[in-house]
Amino acid sequence: MTILLLAEHDNIALSELTARALTAASQMGDAVDILVAGQGAQGVAATAAQLAGVRRVLLAEAPALEQRLAEPTAALLVALAADYAAIVAPATSTGKNVLPRVAALLDVMQVSEIVEVVAPDTFKRPIYAGNAVQTVRSGDAVKVVTVRTAAFAPTASGETAVEIVTVTDAGDPGLSRFVENRFAATDRPDLGAARIVVSGGRALGSAEKFRETILPLADRMGAAVGASRAAVDAGYAPNDWQVGQTGKVVAPDLYIACGISGAIQHLAGMKDARIIVAINKDADAPIFQVADYGLVGDLFELVPELARQL
């Protein structure tokens, strides 16, 4: 049983989320091939080829694959699917965009955002914003699965590299055209893979105060920055910082929630962190029910003070 794993990357570097999804994929079969779909992505393929336990890397390059648009990327996966028992991707925005399309074209019901592989056809996945966990078995001939990467440790890189095979792209129906990415350049660690996350909520009050209060602590700790939906909606933080049911799901060693009340939709994105710290002026805020360490008080005093103490 061979598994095909779609790599997450930006044509320059392989995302660590791929190594995490590989851990899940390795539990589903006896061999895993990694597909790098992109443009000018040979370096990514070379990194993928070093991941432990990979059988080989497939490299498909075409202009339409540069941004992994849904239609051509799904077509490529469908063209390759016949050789595999399962098609797997990390549940990133690319994985979530492409894999259900592959599933429909293969007439398969996808299993979304698994957090555990029970057996090659049986998985655990959270539902209702993580308030319940379902064990589901897929009866489909081919499994199509996205992986919640926060639930799996990354597979290590080995010393040796496996073979890289070039595959031809499956063409582009030309339905969609990439216009631009509006990504802010940052030196901070990636939110999805960071060891420490410092998050701010509605209490920050403005984009300036968010920057002045949260970022120094995050930078002091080498942490990624997160935010509640209320903070993103109000424009205090960009959308890619949102943690929660409809944002990113993170499981860092340390999550520091500053001025966040702890709505279930926010908890869905961070309650699997190893240690949770809450800073909130309301002693009854629900966030304290999940916090290992609670600090009651004004965040505008406590957060800078915490940064000084480090």
């Binding site: 259900p100 979304s112 078995r137 897929s138 339905l175 909606d233 049911q245 060693d253």
Partner: protein, 249 residues
């Protein structure tokens, strides 16, 4: 251009659900149900397109039990013109939902399907992508901005790195994210008017589509609970604990 908006009836987002004691599922008896919040946003966007003269007619469709009429009436009250209820006692999975919607698209011939990026009960985030695949249409997911010009749509998508702008040919399937708009409330006169708008009911069996479940739910359990933590008195004490107890810093 006609716009089709699928809307799902789900547990209200304010309800904290409970897992049944025997692990057979989630207890939904007497729980408040509402329109999926993402679908509310999709309906609002369709209404704005109609107000802007881009959309000519808005058809909403729901697959589910007879009570799903309520979410259709809600959508009619904020401005949809017509509703279709596909009666199904067992809620079909996204693949079957997408197949049923494909049949509805065949009949209605919309130029655009707008739907939620995920339903907050099952959190699958699949239906729109599957529908787009089955139709062979262009796909734009997680939209936070939609601009339609002629036979193309420019869609701003919320992705992991920030925002991505793509330009897609119509007809298209567009799934919406929370920041696309703020849905209006239905006014009382409009709620009354909605009662007179057409709502057609079709049994799921009429479609001749296999809706058998492909996934077997073996168990449903409570998530791992976190033990209660401790309060610390100062930032200094917090740093001490993080170092000494948690071994983090």
């Amino acid at each position: 251009m006609k716009v089709l908006v699928p809307v799902k009836r789900v547990v209200d987002h304010n309800v904290k659900i409970r897992v049944k004691g025997d692990g057979s599922g989630v207890d939904l008896a007497n729980v408040k149900m509402s329109i999926n919040p993402f679908d509310e946003i999709a309906v609002e966007e369709a209404v704005r397109l109609k107000e802007a003269g881009v959309a000519t007619e808005i058809v909403v469709v729901s697959i589910g039990p007879v009570q799903a009429q309520d979410v259709l009436r809600t959508a009619l009250a904020v401005g949809a013109d017509r509703a279709i209820l596909i009666r199904a006692e067992v809620m079909p999975e996204p693949l079957a939902v997408a197949k049923l919607l494909t049949a509805v698209v065949g009949r209605e011939q919309p130029g655009l399907v707008l739907l939620g990026k995920q339903a907050i009960d099952d959190d699958s985030n699949q239906t729109g992508q599957m529908l787009s695949a089955l139709l062979g249409w262009s796909q734009a997911t997680f939209a936070s901005r939609i601009a339609i010009a002629g036979d193309r749509a420019t869609v701003t998508r919320e992705v992991d790195g920030g925002l991505q702008v793509i330009d897609v040919a119509l007809p298209a399937v567009v799934s919406v994210d929370l920041r696309l708009n703020e849905p209006r409330y239905a006014t009382l006169p409009n709620i009354m008017k909605a009662k007179k708008k057409p709502l057609e009911e079709v049994p799921v069996g009429d479609f001749g589509i296999d809706v058998a479940l492909r996934l077997t739910v073996l168990a449903t359990e409570e998530p791992k609970l976190r033990g209660p933590g401790v309060r610390v008195a100062s930032a200094a004490e917090l740093v001490d604990k993080l170092k000494a107890e948690a071994g983090i810093l």
